[in-house]
């Protein structure tokens, strides 16, 4: 009976936990991105592989160094920065100069995440902050696309990829046009099945809708992603573009809208950044609808062929206010709106 004389632990209830931890969620998001990443390398070859590796390395390294510099325990172990790096890399053209990738990665972590206070405090999706800065700084490089499935993709590295730091890239191959720019400027829609399978030109990760949806489905199944966000984006884009297409068939049809460009990757993996999206179910529907509407508006009337990045960043900025305004009705109270 000696064990009864042991000192017992005092814990406050609950004494049990669900057993899902933040690092586990983040790790699973990385798993869900692996098929997309492998397909990107398969479609675009060595250049894409180098871009992805540089993106992840620059983000992880920056976060680690910033933690060291500010005398904090390194936070790379929570895996969230790996997601940022991978997503950031996937939003870039596969032949994007590596030095620019590195620069963007540093910006994404330093200005997109660390300056706000690190994990849990970022207002915007850090990967998109990095990309937005690159879009502003290198407008040509970020809209010059390497065609998918070129025959020498595993034997040669695009000359633009290895551009010497601080130099402008030189493109040696004929650059491919993305389905969105073809649509925007020539009003020709790519085949839906090609878009779905990912056989078109574009950024590394914005090609295979199928693999992105599979990754998303895995996370929803593991209850590690809020399915309402992509659902709301898909619905709003489909409805809006459906209406516009019915009025004037020059406007792209819903299936093209949904499957082209960065919409899939953005809706499934970037808009769902937990920290930068609202927390309540109704708030999340509004947030998704805001993104969907912005995407359609930018794509149809804006000067750019693509608008997913700006749409998400725009909605990120509104998330805290959505949470403030839209609150679920508390049990036993009559009003939806909070009173002070």
């Amino acid at each position: 009976m000696s064990s009864l004389n042991k000192t017992l632990e005092i814990k406050t209830s609950p004494h049990i936990a669900r057993g899902v931890s933040t690092d586990m969620i983040m790790r699973n998001v990385v798993y869900a991105l692996i098929p997309v990443s492998i397909f990107a390398v398969y479609a675009f070859g060595l250049s894409a592989l180098l871009v992805l590796i540089t993106a992840v390395v620059s983000c992880v390294l920056t976060e680690h160094l910033l933690c060291v510099l500010t005398h904090k325990q390194s936070t790379v172990g929570d895996w969230s920065i790996t997601i940022t790096g991978l997503l950031f890399g996937l939003t870039l053209p596969p032949n994007f100069p590596l030095w620019m990738v590195f620069f963007g990665g540093v910006i994404a972590v330093a200005l997109g995440k660390f300056i706000f206070g690190g994990l849990g405090y970022n207002t915007f999706n850090p990967a998109l902050v990095g990309r937005a800065v690159l879009q502003a700084s290198f407008p040509v490089a970020i809209t010059t696309w390497h065609p998918a499935f070129s025959t020498d993709r595993f034997s040669t590295i695009a000359s633009s990829t290895l551009t010497f730091p601080f130099m402008e890239p030189v493109y040696d191959t004929v650059s491919g046009a993305t389905p969105l720019s073809v649509m925007k400027f020539e009003h020709i829609a790519a085949k839906t099945s090609d878009l779905f399978m990912g056989l078109t030109t574009g950024s590394s990760g914005e090609t295979s809708a199928l693999l992105i949806l599979l990754g998303g489905a895995y996370l929803v199944y593991r209850k590690m992603m809020n399915w309402r966000i992509p659902a709301s984006i898909f619905l709003s884009v489909a409805i809006l573009s459906g209406i516009l297409h019915t009025i004037n068939s020059q406007y792209p049809a819903p299936d093209f809208m949904l499957l082209s460009g960065g919409l899939m990757l953005g809706a499934v993996f970037m808009a769902t950044d937990m920290v930068a999206s609202p927390i309540t179910p109704i708030g999340v529907w509004i947030y998704g609808a805001l993104i969907g509407t912005m995407i359609v508006v930018i794509r149809v009337w804006g000067g750019l062929p693509e608008g997913v990045m700006y749409a998400i960043l725009f909605a990120n900025a509104f998330s805290p206010q959505i949470d403030n305004l839209i609150r679920p009705r508390v049990y036993g109270t009559s009003s939806r709106w909070s009173r002070t």
């Binding site: 406050t12 609950p14 936990a17 933040t22 206070g117 809020n226 049990y331």
Partner: protein
């Protein structure tokens, strides 16, 4: 048969922790021996403590009144065993404080006959007589709340109760006391319902049971006396369905207004073991001196459901059932809301529904690292009363108590712990809220 009792109605949100009831759910209730010394605190209920009516050194018989109630929100104490009052003074309490109480030394050779009092006739007694009878029996909510049962039954002027709800939910993992009571004390439960319906004027009774206890539901449904408006409902397994508010919503589709009581939703909820106790004690005018407790958890050798005299020291309980060498934590009640104890010299009290012992293995499984809130929304989806625990947690850290109360309904939180249970960042949310509520209450008393 059980299928026809099933209803998929439930409350919204909540969580579903592993039930871990298999180790004891099939174990019949067994009687515990008397401990050599019993410890009986005077305050085993919410409300005014009782006042001793016996002296040090006095011999008492089992069931004899030893402390009387003071006021309406108070209940008396009865001797759990025939013996001698060794000392009236301070006794250890699970809060860590010493509180007024008795030390009782049972006579080893006594027959332990139970004292009889004035019976309450279930057919003829008036509501007030029944309410007085329940108070005189020293009955409190045996589900764990330990609120004097008779207080809930007193219908204030201008209010009505149409439904009596018998709470056989037992949504806390590990606990199987209510399950066994339902299987083994059916006639007592029916008798208790008779008293409760008379006392409250309720038109009908619903016995709410979670779907993991179909045997109990079937059995109780089969023994409902002819003509009694009692029905049994099996509802989906979900925590915290045993909370009064959640059970009322699950069974009646009504909400208890914020800050209100079940009576404001025309219902009263009584735990099933409490009901059985009423049905068993009142016909003899006896007082409560023992209760059924699940002793379980990975650290316990002889797990089971035991009928244990009130006042039995925890050390005696654990010595009797035997514990493993690597025990690390003992808590009273279920793992979601039960407080853990450090001192084994505290006694079993009326509100103790379970004793669960964890070992180093469970302690190791628990993650200690706390991450920042990633706003995943798991807590928002778990909170049964639709609060925003994530936001409340951030506000608690910033000590913004006024905002917590005024804008985020802090005082509606009944501390079920679902938010902490699901939080992937391991943030002690419910712990923050308990503390914040305490601070808010203290401040409002001061002002």
């Amino acid at each position: 048969m059980a299928l026809s009792l099933f209803s998929n109605k439930t409350f919204k949100h909540g969580v579903h922790p592993p039930e871990t009831k298999d180790a004891t759910s099939k174990m019949p209730i067994r009687r515990f021996p008397f401990a050599p010394v019993m410890i009986i605190p005077l305050a085993q209920h919410i409300g005014a403590p009782s006042v001793p009516v016996v002296k040090e050194g006095q011999e008492v018989t089992r069931g004899q009144l030893i402390a009387k109630a003071t006021g309406f929100v108070s209940v008396p104490m009865h001797a759990p065993a025939s013996g001698i009052i060794r000392k009236i003074g301070n006794v250890p309490h699970m809060s860590g404080k010493m509180v007024p109480g008795f030390y009782l030394e049972p006579f080893p050779s006594s027959g332990q006959e139970v004292n009889e009092g004035t019976p309450v006739n279930p057919e003829t007694a008036t509501p007030d007589e029944i309410i007085a009878g329940i108070q005189n029996a020293g009955i409190v909510g045996l589900g764990g709340a330990a609120f004097p049962t008779h207080v809930k039954l007193k219908v204030p002027e201008g209010k009505t109760i149409d439904t009596l709800i018998i709470n056989g939910v037992e949504c806390e993992p590990y606990l199987t006391t209510d399950h066994r009571v339902m299987l083994e004390q059916g006639p007592d439960i029916m008798m208790g319902i008779k008293y409760l319906m008379r006392a409250t004027g309720a038109e009908k009774t619903i016995i709410g049971i979670e779907a993991n206890k179909p045997d109990a539901a079937e059995y109780l449904n089969s023994i409902i006396p002819a003509g009694m408006p009692v029905s049994v409902k099996l509802i989906p397994v979900k925590y915290p369905q045993g909370a009064e508010k959640m059970l009322i919503t699950a069974l009646l589709g009504r909400e208890v207004p914020s800050g209100g009581l079940p009576i404001d939703a025309h219902a009263v909820v009584v735990n099933v073991a409490t009901t059985a106790e009423i049905g068993r004690l009142l016909p003899h005018g006896r007082g409560i001196q023992e209760r059924v407790i699940t002793i379980t958890g990975p650290g316990v050798k002889k797990k089971g459901n035991y009928l244990i005299p009130i006042g039995t020291p925890m050390r005696f309980v654990l010595e009797t059932v035997g514990v493993e060498d690597n025990i690390s934590e003992v808590f009273l009640g279920g793992p979601m809301m039960g407080p853990s104890i450090s001192n084994l010299d505290i006694p079993i009290v009326k509100g103790t529904s379970g004793v669960v012992v964890f070992t180093d293995n469970e302690a190791k499984k628990r993650k200690e690292k706390i991450y920042p809130c990633i706003k995943c929304g798991a807590c928002v989806d778990a909170c049964p009363i639709f609060l925003n625990p994530s936001k409340l947690g951030i506000l608690a850290k910033a000590e913004e108590y006024d905002t917590m109360v005024g804008q985020y309904h802090l005082m509606d939180c009944f501390e079920c712990g679902s938010c902490t249970y699901v939080c992937p960042s391991n943030i002690p949310l419910v712990q923050y809220f308990r503390m914040s509520k305490g601070i808010v209450r203290k401040r409002s008393v001061k002002n």
